[in-house]
Symmetry: C2
Subunit: 107 residues, 2 copies
């Protein structure tokens, strides 16, 4: 039976877009306002907000509004979850390969 | 200017689906035939082939046909590329946080 991981679906989907990855990259340098995030991109504020919404719904980004400024902060634990999923599969395969190598050496 | 990373787009897109992640998981246990991959899923072979195509186009999976059997193998380097992208951003943010903490301790 297939184990559902809806949050991983949303996290990988959020990371599958170069603009959203660039926004994540900017936020790793410190909390950013929506204007900060929008600055490098030749796109409307509405388009930037749409990307931000995808990031927020995935859990990768938390936003907080104080007065007229919305501040966006990265959630490292969610990055970690995605990183761990990939790392676990990669090491599982590498362990398998090592075992196959050892079997070949023995034979 | 936005740096395009089309391969990361395809890799994260490929990982954003639970069926494809389950197929990757299966392949970390060793090379698999298309029937092996299809077995746990209540879906048509055509649907499985479509998922496999997305995985292959992302570079995450390599397939090789010998006679009537197509064997599917994981590409750990491509998993590694996605893992490294996430890890680099996470550690960049954690370093930033440590610096902020140090500044607060000094003040």
């Amino acid at each position: 039976m297939l184990k559902q991981s809806p949050s991983l679906d949303l996290v990988f989907q959020a990371l599958a877009d170069p603009t959203r990855r660039a926004m994540v990259e900017r936020m790793t340098k410190g909390p950013a306002s929506v204007s900060d995030l929008a600055r490098p991109f030749a796109m409307t504020l509405a388009a930037v907000m749409q990307h931000l919404k995808v990031l927020e719904e995935s859990g990768l980004v938390r936003t907080q509004k104080e007065g007229r400024v919305r501040t966006c902060t990265i959630e490292p634990d969610v990055l970690r979850t995605a990183e761990d999923w990939i790392a676990d599969r990669r090491t599982s395969w590498e362990t398998k390969l090592d075992r196959l190598g050892a079997l070949l050496d023995e034979s």
